[in-house]
């Protein structure tokens, strides 16, 4: 990744997040390197989609960017300043500016609080409104913004009175209520009805137009990654065992994937066209399962499954190189 003079909204530099776990019955210590040397830039109003299989580290990376997990090493810069070197005021400003939307809209709302209570709390906490009347006005505005109308009706409801899609809209309203510059959206549509999923993504894109929010969108679904990043003019980053193995403009990644892992994933995914989908077959991977993150392979972490593996792949980690403008890949097929 190019290191511009950092006026970017968020920049992660050589970020590592390790978890220490007990291994086996004897309690031998093991390390899971959930994020293992990631560089990532998110510009103001930018869109970055992280896509990968479960266990690739995409959620850990998202939580770390949002300040919910502490990096083991490396840095996160918020508007050019490392978050570990901020004073209290600056740090609070960063925490307000980066909000998160979790996967499960059923678990992320307090069932004993009305929509009004849920949405007014952050407004009060960040002193964005004074008094109940002002809070009500602001909450109504937020509900209109996320398409929950009439707002007077939704304000009084409890989460159990809302559908999954409506709950996720409340969660999104809560995230944007404090005027964040970045929203980390972690699988925001996975638990939503199929017919409503694109509606949630469209809502996030609309909010970006109106409020200038940047997104770090996390998904396991290449179709959703493509839709969100392509419509928003953003990039897709493919993660594997804690590393970004390929990153580039959305359609470029989908139409011309370079990394054997990205190719395998895009080849494998069923598509809503029987003629095309039936021609798909399991890509010739050497192993179906992701290796244990407790003992990832040396060199390129994908080499144990890669159909194109060469001797060098087991020895040295491939660098991330720019193969086409803006399209980077970490693979020895493309690196010298």
């Amino acid at each position: 990744m190019p290191r511009t003079i950092s006026t970017s909204l968020i920049e992660a530099r050589n970020l590592r997040v390790y978890f220490y776990v007990k291994k086996g019955a004897l309690g031998k210590r093991g390390i899971v390197k959930a994020v293992d040397g990631v560089d990532l830039v998110i510009e103001e109003r930018g869109i970055v989609t992280l896509v990968g299989e479960s266990g690739c580290g995409k959620t850990t990376l998202g939580k770390t960017v949002a300040g919910l997990l502490k990096p083991t090493s490396g840095e996160i810069l918020f508007r050019g300043k490392s978050i570990t070197r901020m004073n209290r005021k600056e740090y609070m400003e960063y925490r307000r500016s980066v909000q998160i939307v979790h996967q499960d809209p059923y678990a992320s709302l307090n069932p004993t609080k009305t929509v009004f209570q849920t949405l007014s709390y952050p407004l009060m906490r960040w002193k964005l409104v004074r008094g109940r009347a002002e809070a009500e006005e602001k909450v109504k505005e937020l509900l209109r913004l996320v398409g929950l109308t009439p707002p007077e009706e939704f304000m009084r409801k409890y989460p159990h009175q809302l559908s999954g899609g409506q709950r996720q809209r409340v969660v999104i309203a809560r995230a944007i209520s404090v005027n964040p510059s970045l929203v980390v959206a972690d699988e925001p549509i996975t638990m939503i009805d199929v017919s409503l999923r694109l509606g949630i993504l469209d809502l996030l894109l609309k909010l970006r137009e109106e409020l200038g929010t940047a997104y770090l969108f996390i998904t396991h679904d290449f179709g959703a990654a493509r839709y969100f990043s392509a419509k928003g003019g953003g990039v897709i980053a493919v993660m594997y065992l804690g590393k970004i193995v390929e990153i580039g403009p959305a359609e470029e990644i989908i139409q011309h994937p370079l990394h054997p892992y990205t190719k395998a994933l895009i080849d494998a995914v069923p598509v809503p066209d029987p003629e095309i989908s039936r021609k798909k077959r399991m890509p010739p991977l050497r192993s179906l399962d992701i290796p244990s993150p407790l003992s990832p392979p040396p060199g390129c972490k994908f080499h144990t499954r890669c159909p194109d593996a060469m001797p060098v792949c087991a020895e040295k980690e491939p660098p991330l190189v720019e193969v086409r403008p803006g399209h980077y890949v970490a693979c020895w097929l493309y690196a010298k």
Binding site: L198, V269, V271, P272, S277, K280, L285, L288
Partner: protein
């Protein structure tokens, strides 16, 4: 597929749940048949009644649910009216189910081989040697190493392996019909592809009819011979997969295909369906899709559309194609 002989014929089936809010009509006057040897894909959103439909066929509904009308003919008997003792001889022996959330369906304290032995014993097969032999064959068919897998506990297997074990377990007593409820939903892309490929191979190797239930229409396109599209407790369209995908008749089917974000096609053409699925305690009158439909006519909010055969074997319930 060979001859189009039906193996299961469902007529006018209605299944309701008794809830505190009232009667939930989860499956409402549904008729269709399953053809011997085919893969019938049933697609619908959550709450469309697709899982209730499969549980109705096997009569394994929760306590607050009941089949209130209709018949399910299988080999000349009506499963709806069959005494429970007789139904036990159908389940697993003749019609078998791989349930939803199957990854949690294995007992964590039992080795995989004990699951096979226990299942067989419950269904009256006591010859352990024969059960293990059969289990090994099935596991091999599903490309698992029988020796290793049979001696493993569930936690030692990956999600894809557990899913394959459950399919093998469902096939243990040589059923004629296998019902798979969202068998690839919780799996990663590559594992999902592997399971789809295995199911395709399985059909070539053993004589089996499959009912494949999913919310993912792309999976249906990949695997099924025919597709039944469910919306709010009704089958709104049923027909050959190639025909339905190339030329979907029902506005819901058309909208559903467009609502899938995919790696093919143009992003501009993908769009969500406006509104949300109806509350089945209080479904809209007439056609249940009319509040979300872009092509609705005055009649749609008044009368339920009849099922019309628009082409041989392609049946649609929509006023656009019915005589009014």
């Amino acid at each position: 597929m060979g001859s189009a002989e039906p193996i299961i014929e469902v007529k006018g089936l209605s299944t309701v749940y008794y809830s505190l809010r009232g009667l939930v009509r989860a499956v409402d006057n549904v008729s269709f048949s399953v053809i011997r040897g085919e893969v019938l894909g049933v697609v619908g959103e959550s709450g469309s009644g697709k899982s209730t439909l499969s549980m109705s066929i096997l009569r394994v509904l929760p306590l607050n649910a009941r089949i209130v009308a209709g018949s399910i003919m299988y080999n000349g008997v009506d499963l709806v009216r069959l005494p429970e003792q007789e139904m036990k001889k159908i389940r697993w022996h003749k019609i078998s189910l791989v349930p939803q959330a199957a990854l949690n369906a294995l007992n964590p304290t039992m080795k995989i081989k004990e699951h096979f032995i226990e299942t067989a014993r419950y269904h009256g097969v006591r010859d352990k040697g024969a059960v293990i032999k059969k289990a090994s064959e099935l596991l091999e068919l599903l490309r698992l190493e029988p020796r290793r897998v049979l001696e493993s506990y569930p936690h030692e297997l990956s999600g894809g392996m557990k899913q394959r074990v459950l399919i093998a377990l469902a096939l243990l007593l040589d059923p004629e019909v296998l019902i798979l409820d969202e068998p690839t939903t919780a799996l990663d892309v590559l594992t999902q592809r592997a399971i789809l490929d295995l199911l395709k191979d399985l059909r070539k190797k053993i004589d089996i009819t499959m009912i494949f239930i999913t919310h993912d229409i792309a999976v249906i396109a990949d695997l099924a011979d025919r597709v039944a599209v469910m919306y709010a407790g009704k089958i709104v369209e049923i027909g050959d997969v190639f025909t339905v995908f190339k030329n979907p008749y029902h506005p819901y089917t058309r909208a559903l295909i467009k609502s899938i974000p995919s790696v093919i096609g143009s992003v501009e053409e993908m769009k969500p369906i406006p509104g949300s699925p109806p509350d089945l305690v209080n479904p809209p009158p007439g056609c249940r899709f009319h509040p979300r439909c872009g092509e609705k006519l005055p009649v749609c909010s008044e009368k339920e559309p009849p099922a019309v055969e628009v082409k041989p074997g392609h049946v649609v319930s929509c006023w656009l194609y019915a005589a009014r």
